[in-house]
């Protein structure tokens, strides 16, 4: 008898003929995330995938923790694999579920019988198991409408499975099933959340960070590594490109009007990002912008930024309040890292009074003072790859 994980893949079931492709990606993602916890086998059947460790002494709690962060899983539960023998089932169910049963008052039993040759029918299994549990745990009563816990007994091809409470999975679609996109990340609260949200929709992330030494420090870049590590726990491995940005910022500072500094800088970031994104087979850019949050994120400023590139720009936080963003940031345990006080490329040289109503013509005119193409290709050429593992 061993413990396994039963996974329900929710939204994937809707994908019709493509289901196999999505399922394969999901299994590959899970394999990768569990790889340091020994060998696992994954067996899909209908809308369920069974994940079973090959070794008995595997760190099961850590495996559950990692699985809870893999996108594409609607719900999952730890289950005990037992021989298809009613006597064994009745013998083990109470002991296995004891930790869950002692703290509650009501339960019900549900049985699923995909092997129709099993001698007992589902209602018979339910009443036998129910009776056994009532006998073993006299404090429990049965409530079929609103039980504290539902005890599941599944009779499948080779084995029977016993499990209690189903846990909520990370939801969404398997990372990579929807293609690749490039996340612009500064070191604040927003961009990791934006990356997390788009990864949830099945995008595989490449990240782009602009560093401006000596105005920004090694610690600022290390902070970005830590933030991405949190995101990678959900999205899987992330390739981060660090782009040297000092020269571009100094050129803008020296040659463009102060109140347009931020908007021109952001347009340059987008342009650099678009080139790297295309090189890395990404079909979209992702930013953490939200309307009206700061001067560079007014509707008019966003419109000017948008026009810098042809690639679609995804802004999943666009209509969210800061408090909503912070809630997600805390959930993915990025918040405490985000608020470390290092200067990042977006905060150095901030003008005293940035233009909140920039006009594209004025911005384009101001950019004429710069040799944009050369600056951008030089920055992109000197990018550095850092691989971020979960």
């Amino acid at each position: 008898m061993k413990e396994i994980i039963l996974l329900k893949n929710g939204e994937l079931a809707l994908k019709g003929l493509n289901r196999r492709t999505f399922e394969d990606i999901l299994i590959k993602n899970m394999k990768h995330r569990l790889s340091s916890l020994g060998k696992w086998t994954f067996t899909p059947s209908q809308s369920t995938i069974m994940a079973a460790p090959e070794n008995e002494d595997v760190d099961f709690d850590e495996a559950i923790n990692r699985i809870s962060k893999v996108f594409g899983i609607a719900a999952f539960s730890r289950a005990l694999e037992v021989p298809k023998d009613m006597a064994v089932i009745l013998d083990t169910v109470g002991t296995y579920l004891e930790p869950e049963l002692i703290g509650i008052r009501t339960f019900k039993v549900e049985a699923k019988r995909s092997d129709k040759k099993f001698p007992l029918k589902s209602p018979e299994i339910c009443s036998a198991v129910g009776e056994k549990l009532l006998e073993q745990f006299p404090h429990l009563t049965v409530d079929v409408h609103d039980p504290d816990i539902t005890v599941m007994v599944e009779i499948r091809d080779k084995f029977a499975y016993i499990h209690g409470t189903q846990l909520k999975g990370a939801g969404g679609m398997p990372s990579g099933s929807a293609g690749n996109a490039a996340l612009l990340i500064s070191g604040g609260i927003d961009s990791p959340v934006a990356g997390y949200m788009m990864a949830k929709r099945g995008l595989r992330l490449t990240a782009i960070h602009f560093a401006s030494p000596p105005y920004t420090s090694e610690r600022a870049e290390m902070k970005v590594h830590s933030l991405l590590r949190q995101v990678a726990k959900y999205s899987g491995i992330i390739n981060l490109f660090v782009v040297p940005f000092t020269e571009i910022q100094e050129q803008i500072l020296d040659n463009c009007p102060e109140d347009l500094f931020t908007i021109i800088m952001r347009r340059f970031m987008m342009k650099c990002a678009e080139i790297i994104a295309a090189e890395r087979d990404c079909a979209a850019l992702i930013t953490g912008e939200s309307v009206g949050q700061v001067a560079s994120q007014t509707l008019y400023a966003l419109a000017c930024t948008d026009r810098a590139v042809d690639m679609p720009v995804f802004r999943p936080l666009i209509g969210m309040d800061k408090s909503e963003v912070i809630a997600i940031s805390r959930k993915i345990e990025a918040f405490d890292i985000s608020i470390l006080p290092y200067e990042d490329c977006c905060t150095v040289f901030t003008p005293k009074h940035p233009r909140t109503h920039p006009k594209l013509e004025a911005v384009l005119k101001a950019e004429e003072a710069l040799n944009a193409e050369e600056l951008i290709s030089k920055a992109v050429e000197n990018k550095r790859l850092v691989i971020i593992n979960p």
């Binding site: 030494p213 000596p214 105005y215 920004t216 090694e218 100094e250 200067e343 040289f349």
Partner: protein, 378 residues
Amino acid sequence: MNAYLDNSATTPPCKEAIAAVNDAMTAHWGNPSSLHRVGIMAEDVLKKARTQVADKLFCRPEEIYFTSGGTEGNNLALFGAANAMRHRGKRIVTSSIEHSSIDEAMTQLEKQGFEVIRLPVDNYGRVSEKDIASAVNGETILVSIMAVNNEVGTLQPVGSIKRIVTAARSPALIHCDGVQAFGKMNIRPASFGLDLMTVSAHKIHGIKGAGALYIRQGVRITPSLYGGSQEGKIRPGTQAVPAIAAFGAAAEALQSSEKTTQRVKSLRDYFVYALSEIDGVDINSPSDALPYIVNISVMGINSEPMLNYLSNMGVYVSNGSACSKGKKSRVLKAIGLDDRHISSALRISFSRFTTTDETDLLIEGIKGIKQTIRPNRK
């Protein structure tokens, strides 16, 4: 070549300290409280270290209580004194530019019902004797003033507190945070009339994890931890023998403070003179400060890019206390500096091992900063 000029944050361990650690970890690794010979050998190491530290403080070995470092020593002194004296009064007097391990502990004492008076400082960062005298009354149970400020190097009139307390007929215990002063100036708790003084090993080329609280013989404070009978029950817990051994060795290796201070002073003067030839550099430390610490502002340029620039060329300084990373300096604000000076401040801290070449590298770095780094907009 590198120039480590952040010795107020920590110092590189001296060779004597490293040898002592090695010895304590290979030959004398026992529990000093054990009855057997291995324990006795470890106890001998502690005894030696206690004498070595006491010698440098001109006090008795029995007056030295080993701790884990400056923060613990300061906390033990403040809470221990306040608790022991709480039936005598509620008033505690301190300054507004203490290290965070004093300042935050004081905030906790306020929450426990003590009245904490934080005395202001003048533009040099000095607390006036007059202010101390008017704050100390018969209800005052504790006065805690640092010997040397950790950000600007200002010396405080610690030696005058005893006279003030006596004149006010106050029962107050006198504590001094001597972490930045120890080994760099002549500070004798007994002749200064101090009851308690905190020192730390890693600021004098020992290693992290050891410090001491001087408690004058006859003074009773309550412990913060309870357990075994180590350190006279004032600080129970098995002593960190290797770190304490290193502390003793580092203390013994300190040369006469007059001689080294003279050498560091000429280095400081050399540095300050070189700065006077660079436009837009202001010195924030008073000229009679402890020469080991020089606080400057490179006007118009933010501290962080300067630190990064210098770090890239192998010059290591700080923008304030390492214990308040990234926050705007409370101390520089208290000495009346404006935001322009505070946001462009650098703290350079020398050690007795600092060379002229290292100082030259820093000067070269500051010149480089002026040429390379764009001024801030504020």
